[in-house]
């Protein structure tokens, strides 16, 4: 077994165990940390595909920003309210569906011929050039979207003037 494959399995183990943790853990904080584990695993997978920039971004954004934002959100609300995180009644159905979907995806994978090319790498330079020449406009649009999302998020969370009196005690 070549080393890269072993490394891939290790990364995959990180990813999947983190993922399972997210969907089964009863403690919401554990869930958040499981997500972090999963994200780190994915960064590993990126590395194995020679996408070091993406791996970096993955750890920075998901490992840093996302998980921390989620934890902050939990802290801003009363954490006790999140204790009861029992699952829905349709958990068996969800299980069936997700397993079925998996089976279908695998089946489609088997049915479809996949490209069998060699692994190729894209250097960070190439990525940067591509991003700022061919994809410059979408990139700018994406940044606008981010801006709008930020403004939107603030607007949504902001307490309205009318809310003050009846505002909650927290």
């Amino acid at each position: 077994m070549p080393g890269s494959l072993i490394l891939f399995y290790v990364a995959a183990a990180f990813v999947l165990s983190g993922g399972i943790g997210v969907v089964v853990s009863k403690n919401i904080v554990y869930c958040a940390f499981s997500l972090l584990v999963s994200m780190i695993g994915i960064a590993g997978v990126f590395l194995l595909a020679f996408a070091e920039f993406l791996a970096l971004v993955q750890i920075l954004i998901y490992g840093g920003a996302v998980v921390i934002v989620i934890l902050f959100a939990l802290m801003l609300t009363r954490i006790e309210d999140f204790r009861d995180i029992s699952d829905n009644r349709n958990r068996p159905l969800a299980l069936v569906i997700s397993l079925g979907l998996l089976a279908m995806l695998i089946a489609s994978l088997v049915r479809t011929p996949t490209p069998q090319g060699d692994q190729s790498a894209v250097s960070m330079v190439e990525l940067g050039e591509s991003l700022f020449t061919d994809w410059a406009i979408p990139f700018e649009v994406a940044s606008l979207v981010l801006l709008v999302a930020l403004v939107g998020a603030i607007v949504i969370v902001r307490r309205d003037a009318g809310d003050e009196e009846q505002g909650d005690p927290s």
Binding site: A12, V15, V22, V23, L48, I70, I97, L99, L109
Partner: protein, 105 residues
């Protein structure tokens, strides 16, 4: 050797975990996390194709570019989603998806 299939299978499993999470979990925060899992599953798939596919020309970096966008959108989405959850919590004292059924017919 690692092959494309490895990436794909990993992506599928993660995606289905995400689906399961979305459908089965009660807390909106957890649903949100599951969605993140699904997004990342997509990313794994994309990076797989990017690494093994041969698209040639100006499209060599396409896979990674798209991942960059996905991450961007995911971040934006997360920010909004958290904002909505906070607001929801303030209005209703609950973040359980069972109890959010304004669209009930």
């Amino acid at each position: 050797m690692i092959s494309l299939a490895h990436f794909q299978v990993l992506a599928y499993i993660l995606f289905c975990l995400g689906i399961y999470g979305v459908l089965a979990r009660k807390s909106t925060v957890l649903v949100l996390m599951s969605i993140e899992l699904m997004l990342n599953a997509v990313n794994i798939n994309l990076i797989g194709y990017s690494a093994f596919g041969s698209f040639g020309g100006s499209h060599t970096a396409l896979g990674q570019v798209i991942i960059v966008f996905v991450i961007t959108i995911a971040a934006a989405e997360l920010a909004l989603a958290i904002a909505i959850i906070l607001r929801l919590y303030r209005e209703r004292r609950s973040v359980n998806v069972d109890e959010i059924d304004l669209l009930k017919g």
